[in-house]
């Protein structure tokens, strides 16, 4: 069955697959996670702020984005970002945006909707008495969040945030629909050029599996450790 296989094709294209493809995938994953967590935390704070308008905007944002397939959202932003860029800079024509920037903005905005739900649960897991205590000590809202609530919320939610990051890592493969050279895109380009679909897609599956599985094991160990600490 494997006799006609050409595993050498993987060896030959390894630098391209990892230095170009995987680098893109990992950079996108890390930067979109950082951006998504920051924006998601702000959305969660808006949602819980008690100011009706802010709370509605945050709820609408995360509910609508979470109802749409990522593929559709990728298309939306791919076409929308040049116009937003034009609007911000006041240029006379839609701004030219590179593939990486476009993907990064898309994933940051999309994942923020999911991270905001996680952070909302994290903030709500902190007893309200702690915030009241903070106010009684004379802390402002932002000091309260910065020194009392958010550090604990982050720690409680760390395993869930990391699990979402693993999902994000897998989701980045969907930039394939824009013909971007992420890891899967690179594998797919080699597969089509050399007519080696079987080898390349099997290899891509093995690599994604190895990384996701190793990360999910780490999260599990982390979870076990934080569970004891509490």
């Amino acid at each position: 069955m494997f006799a006609s296989f050409d595993f050498d094709v993987i060896w030959r294209t390894l630098p391209y697959l990892f230095l170009e493809g995987m680098r893109f995938t990992l950079m996108l994953t890390v930067l979109a996670t950082v951006g998504g967590v920051i924006l998601g935390t702000l959305l969660a704070l808006m949602r819980l702020s008690g100011i009706k308008a802010l709370s509605w905007i945050a709820a609408g944002y995360s509910n609508i984005l979470r109802s749409l397939p990522l593929v559709l959202v990728i298309f939306w932003f791919y076409f929308l970002i040049p116009y937003i860029g034009q609007w911000i800079t006041g240029a006379s024509r839609p701004m030219a945006v590179g593939a990486f920037t476009s993907a990064l903005v898309t994933f940051t905005l999309f994942e923020a909707a999911y991270f905001s739900e996680i952070m909302r649960a994290g903030i709500q897991s902190i007893p309200r008495g702690q915030q009241s205590a903070g106010y009684a000590l004379g802390l402002t809202y932002w000091q309260n969040m910065r020194y009392v609530v958010l550090p604990q919320a982050f720690r409680n939610m760390l395993p869930v945030l990391l699990t979402q990051t693993i999902i994000l890592f897998q989701d980045t493969s969907l930039v394939y629909v824009l013909s971007i050279t992420d890891f899967l895109g690179a594998a797919s380009k080699v597969a089509q050029r050399d007519g080696r679909l079987v080898e390349m897609y099997l290899f891509a599956a093995v690599v994604y599996f190895a990384i996701s599985f190793a990360l999910s094991r780490l999260v599990k160990r982390l979870q076990a450790r934080t569970a004891i600490a509490r």
Partner: protein
Amino acid sequence: MTYNWNWGIFWEASPEGTGNYLDMLLSGARWTIATAFIAWIIALAVGSLVGVARTLPSAWANGFATAYVEFFRNIPILVQLFLWYFVLPELLPRAAGMWMKQLPNAAFWTTAFGVGLYMSARVAEQVRAGINALPRGQGMAGKALGLTTAQTYRYVLLPMAFRIILPPLTSEFLNTIKNTSVGLTIGLLELTGRARSMQEFTFQVFEAFTAATLLYLLINAVVVVGMRVLESRVAIPGHSVGK
């Protein structure tokens, strides 16, 4: 913005020659619903079996089910779809491979099965969580009454477990609908794919995507309302599960 809006585009004839662009999108929505429906049946059936296997005392069943879940959870859905569509027919004996490639609506069946198996691992985790959420005494009480393991699951554990996990199952069903959109990469003309081709024909990007967005939100709303009704229909008086 320098974009030319044209909301009348939906009533212009589409190049497919069988109606206007609105019909084209609605036909996409029907494919999305059909694909999601079959995928969900597969996900529920296989996911329930695997989820139950993960709670069985047998180490062998447990190991197999764990490996199953890890396999389907740790590979991106798009890669899984490519494995089923491009790789599997090559690995099978020649005749079987040819049969798969020549299947009518191959993209539809591949997406339905691919998404179904992908989601089955997630359903399995929910089923396992639901069974583990029950007091251990329930299973033991079943045994004490002389029920076999199968009967204990059928009459004691699963009826309550499924009621407990109905809310998370609702979101897994919504995820199934959303995930069918990856089918466009292998040529399935579902809703997102239709919106994309409408954009390519007309250049009216934002009208096409707005319509697709509204259709997805509508499908979501119908599912959420339907599941709420189901939840209250099957609720057992006195057991306020999930409230």
